[in-house]
Symmetry: C2
Subunit: 155 residues, 2 copies
DNA sequence: GCGCAAGTGTTATGTTATAACGATACTCAA
DNA sequence: TTGAGTATCGTTATAACATAACACTTGCGC
């Protein structure tokens, strides 16, 4: 799995989350900060146990699964992270401000994920749900395939 | 989890899969038939271990996980089942003939899943992927919320 | 017969996630 | 100041989901 890039998100991302937490009265503890930093520095989404490992190294002591899962849950609830269901992995949400109308593009070669907005998609899903009498609370849209960099190589 | 309905799919569904297998030269073994029947008779998607349990009962002897996972993989590969990633569950594919342009509507109250087609969705995703230079191989579109029957009750 | 592929059985293990309980620290009102 | 309430994190154990690796049988073409 080559990763032709460094970080999934700009370095400012953790600061933006920090600021959003301040505004909303949410606590940014050292534990949370470390989990955020680990995800921000990763070129691709990480599984929970990969985070546990990285965090244990970073804190110099073993961290147990519930600690990390609680932290992930906190960030997921507040929209700072995505859970990539098709991969059981977690990634920074790049579009902090607004509703999640995004599509996740997951490259099966390099492993990276990219998040793009698509208003037409939101409208389509909304009308489909309405026609079915369905009231949506959460949406997951994931495309698995090959990213711009990997598609040619793997022709 | 009330399930205001009986089966997720019409009784003809297993026969349709049978016919499709015949056409494509795929073997419908007793094991495969039983797994199919279990899913067809369930009002909601089932997890792998629920299938293992039901199958063990049906066959009168314990069935080990790999046996069921292999069977599921077979049906997934050929487009007869969906894997619902957000739930680690498996459900019949109701639209056997054509491409998967579907949306899964997952009710968080009754647990049922409904599959609806949405051509506008397909177009939106296609153009979004193209703009990103992304070549899609598989798509997952899942909406979690409340179905027509459950939405009013849980107002 | 022999080699090969498909299907299934079997054992063991790997991976992902949560339940349940305890400890600490902080806030805030009485 | 005390003590009730809440939020955070630690710890132990276990549940839930999934696969690796190898064995065996069957059917089929050569």
């Amino acid at each position: 799995m080559s990763t032709h890039g460094k970080h999934a998100v700009p370095k400012s991302w953790t600061r933006e989350v920090q600021a959003a937490c301040d505004r909303q009265g949410l606590q940014m503890t050292p534990l949370r900060h470390n989990v955020l930093a680990i995800l921000a520095e990763s070129p691709a989404p990480l599984g929970a146990y990969a985070i546990i490992e990285a965090l244990s190294k970073r804190e110099g002591k073993p961290i147990a699964p519930p600690t990390v899962y609680r932290t992930l849950e906190f960030f997921l609830e507040h929209g700072f992270l995505h859970k990539i269901e098709s991969r059981n992995a977690y990634a920074p949400c790049e579009h902090l401000g607004h509703a999640h109308e995004g599509v996740l593009l997951l490259c099966e070669i390099c492993g990276r994920s990219d998040e793009v907005e698509d208003p037409a998609l939101g409208r389509a899903l909304q009308s489909t749900a309405e026609r079915a009498g369905f009231s949506t609370r959460r949406r997951m849209v994931e495309l698995v395939g090959r990213c711009r960099e990997c598609a040619p190589a793997a022709a």
